[in-house]
Symmetry: C2
Subunit: 279 residues, 2 copies
């Protein structure tokens, strides 16, 4: 496992590999958990060469957000990755990725302004920009991303299609704690009490899925039930929406491919989760 | 010389070429003149494989601009290119480049809002976006662009640097008519009288260069003299600026690398030109 801090070293190590080998890529912000590691395993099984990046991208955090407190533990992350089949770890700093005078941004309009984008202005602009930069450096055939960040996948798939890139995103299932809480680096912010209450997200989603299976397709009723479950655990709702799984447009009635998407504050920690309501 | 109308055919023809051969690329909007053809010749001399694109990119035209009247003559352009060493001509239509639902844009902030960008809001967003798309399709090592569109080169060089692309732009000299008018597809709009008056652009630039050689370095004096020359020919000035050749920032005094940049309406036709004032 080679560890590179610079774009130049990473490029050099990968020069010519894209034609000979199928490069698989797992972009991360570190603080690796089992969700990330499942992406790394999947990447290894489907690629010839596994590249992982660890970089807390400042441009996807808003000014009032948790950039400064976001968990960072590069040594531990690298130790974890040594147990997996990783060929290259790319760990740039801000000067590598956003040198002085940096001024180029990628915007996926429409898809970036709804759901998490409405609560976090500029978030997906930062995500699209850093991922495009990383893709130019790594040149992956496959990119492995977890479906907890479902909107992120949709935004990036649209960017890839619109900008005529050839990378394919492999959508990987959400990895959950035994009680159903979706794995997230931000779970470490939760107090023991909050950690217990945080299970309301998956409870609300599972309840909606169950209601759909019983024939309830009206979005407003499903959302209202989900709201009740979140409120019972003192969660503060950012949004709960039922959307088309491809376009992310809100739907008045559940149909094939519909998803329930939610963002909820438990204490000061903002958690997101989502579920497919009907295959 | 192969001519492809689709992204898929172009990709297929170029698959694997980027590693074996140095791909050179000349993006154009057609209506080819000697300026374009000098880029094609230069591309052939410095590349293993010469790719030319012909596409009038609608997203770089403002709503009040000349998109509908922009000269188009694909047959004649292709006939012209047959006299040169061109391997691939890519001639997509709007459905190829901007299919329904297209929504991804690249913005090079700051550099895109000044000079031509101030008069043509959204112009450089359209330019950056289409060139990035074409670069992803063609994967060029070298891209050949004329210095008449000097700001365009600066914007695209910044995009390439910021987005970690490896393409190098080869800046090619402005090709001029015998009387000094910079070659441009838009020169075809000019009436015989306007065509004669249009030489005021190069006269104003050459006069400024001469004054600098004589020791006059004050930008306001140089610009004022240029304004007089333009006005004597009934030109309507959009802008005349003296800027740093790398950053495009306005300079109160000429120094090494300074350029005079101007945009002038002759009748209804907007013409641009520029010159280096001091090496």
């Amino acid at each position: 496992m080679q560890i590179y801090k610079t774009i130049a070293e990473t490029r050099e190590a990968l020069a010519g590999e894209a034609l000979k080998n199928k490069i698989g890529f797992v972009p991360t912000m570190g603080a690796l958990h089992k969700g990330h590691l499942s992406l790394v395993e999947r990447c290894h099984s489907e690629s010839d060469l596994t590249v992982v990046s660890i970089y807390v991208n400042p441009t996807q955090f808003g000014p009032q957000e948790d950039l400064n407190h976001y968990p960072r533990n590069l040594e531990k992350d690298i130790d974890l990755l040594r147990n997996y089949h990783v060929d290259i770890v790319f760990t740039p700093d801000d000067v590598q990725m956003y040198p002085e005078g940096y001024c180029t941004w990628v915007q996926v309009e429409g898809l970036s302004d709804i759901l998490c984008g409405a609560s976090r202005p500029g978030h997906f602009r930062g995500v699209a920009t850093i991922v495009l930069k990383l893709m130019h450096i790594v040149n992956p055939k496959l990119m492995f991303m977890g479906m907890k960040d479902y909107q992120q996948i949709i935004v990036l798939e649209k960017m890839i299609e619109d900008l005529n890139l050839e990378t394919k995103i492999v959508r990987c299932p959400i990895v959950r704690e035994p009680d159903g809480l979706a794995m997230s680096s931000r779970n470490s912010y939760l107090t023991p009490d909050e950690r217990q209450r945080a299970t309301c997200l998956i409870k609300a989603l599972k309840n909606a899925q169950k209601m759909v299976n019983e024939g309830h397709l009206d979005s407003s009723i499903l959302i209202s039930e989900a709201e009740n479950i979140i409120k019972q655990s003192d969660g503060r709702i950012d949004y709960i929406k039922i959307v088309d799984g491809s376009t992310l447009q809100e739907l008045p009635e559940v149909r094939s491919g519909s998803r329930m998407m939610l963002a909820v504050y438990i204490g000061n920690t903002r958690l997101i989760d989502n579920i497919e309501l009907l295959p």
